[in-house]
Amino acid sequence: MLEIRNLHARVEGKDILQGINLTVRPGEIHAIMGPNGSGKSTLAGVLAGREMYEVTEGEVLYRGKNLLELEPAARACEGVFLAFQYPVEIPGVSNTYFLKAALNAVRKYHGEEEYDSFDFLALVKEKMKLVEMDPSFLNRPVNEGFSGGEKKRNEILQMAVLNPMLSILDETDSGLDIDALRIVANGVNKLHTSDNAAVVVTHYQRLLDYIVPDFVHVLVNGRIVKSGDKDLALHLEDHGYDWVKDIQESVPERV
């Protein structure tokens, strides 16, 4: 589904990603871990099409298409979804309006009929149950005044409504209390099928108890320096990143 080859990217003239290789197949869940500032959000942003990141080398194939050539909106319509580490607040735009505009944009892209308000509301209320969100959040401006945890739930609600093929969850677990973590993880698991895939960025093994990854990658200084199965995350939890930092000059293992 996703194939990243030797991806290099920079921001403000600073090289951040320095040769990422990663392959994600349908049905898989990948976890990406790594120290602060190692480039995890940058990778997520490059995949979603954030303009401020400049790709200097490498390529990204997504379902046979050159992903880097697509506008951000087209990527979303093609099924790429990014749950933001820091979701932005949009005063003056209600959550319902936003969700409906997004869903209808995706449907229009695929030549499908747009939802009217009535059908849309039924759908979104159904999806809200998945993340145990109160319907009152629908009338509030997007993320405005939401608590940290509420913002993260709202991201998963959007994911549920848009039903993407490839979800990239950037620290969706940070800021969640224990109950919320379970609810959000549950939501992600319910949305997971053998046809779609997820890349989960996290600092904590805790999340991976709920969302069990097929692969765990360690990103250090813009490169994947170690890949393994879910046990790698347990090992990192106990030993930190220092031991992997030492091997960062070695050739990264291919998955």
Binding site: R50, A76, V88, Y97, A102
Partner: protein
Amino acid sequence: MTKEQSIHSYQEQFAAFEKTLNGESGSSFHALRREALLQFAETGFPTLRNEDWRYTNLNPLTGTAFAMAIQPAESAMLRSQAKAHALRIPDALTLLFVDGHFLPRLSDLGSLPEGLEVRDLPAVLREDALPVGSAATDATVMRNNPFTALNTAFTRQGVTLSVRRNALIEQPLHLLFFSTPAATPFVAHPRVVIDVEANAQCSFVEQYVGDPGAVYFNNVVTDVHVGENAVVQHIKIQDESTAAFHVAANYATVARSGHYANHYIGLGGALLRNAIHAVLAGEGAHCTMNGVYIPGGVQHMDHFTVTDHAVPNCTSHELYKGILTDETRGVFTGKIIVRQDAQKTDARQANNNLLLSENAQIDTRPQLEIYADDVKCTHGATVGRINDDQLFYLESRGIDRAQAGNILSYAFASDIVTRIPLASLREAIDDRLYRRLEESWKK
């Protein structure tokens, strides 16, 4: 045409206009017209050296020759033509004006609610019954506002609206000003006089529309008196042809504990000047001024507002927002005067602008003249651009850049609409605003 030639042509027009007045030319109102014309000729058109007009070059207006608007033939077709441009406000009563002339037979006069009186201005003037001494006909006002003097010199067309004591008028009154496409540019000087007596409540929607591309000049004066404890919602939707000239002066006087709210939506006109002069004349009076302007192409929009706190314990709130695209130019001046007596004044003002293009320009200036010492006055102006993080957030959900930009600019403007306390009108305006913004993001 130079400014002098332009003034001269209005003088000639006045001579011709006088001849059509017959017996009326002996009336006291006509004496006022003559004074107004003299005053206009003496002051002349404002230049950039005039502080109040510093950012608005009137050459395109003074350089155009305008014939006097003529009385249109009333027909059902004319009404539907005008209605085609109008906002649909389901519960409103419509008063139709075409080329500045009030057309009673094409207006909903049959079903006026009790307590509301509408009179055709020519009839009022024939009786010489227009209350002289209102703000707009004050000698000082005319000296300082040459366009008001010019309007007074030619005042004949328009209406007077009176709302009786204690009357609660629920249906909004929709004053629809339609300008017809004409072979030669024409000028109209409509005058609307609104007198709302004590304890009454009412809403007026003043809307200006014209065929796209039509060149004309609307020189409008409205004169509003808000009685004691009365509440007036005055909504203006300026949606003129983008080739038209629109210069308006709106004078409001608010008596004790009265509330005057002016909501302005500005979309049309090649050259627009919208002035509001509100005087809080009785203790406890309140004035709200909210506005949004969205010029496109090369439109020039100048908003000039004056809030005059003449007595103690009055409040005023003003919020103007602008979205500027293409090569447009916007001007906002917010003058707050607090007279020496006006202790405990509470005045707030803000002007926020969104620049969507490198070539758009906004000049914004608060002007505070405070002569009392125990007052609260706040003001602030901002000029910003679309927030990239918000734009990307929307795009990352499948909404293309044009629509995302449209959603964000609409969100910026929409809180002006949400402050209009008439649901039916809000919907109609929402619709119109959204379409207008869509045009600017499609490019």
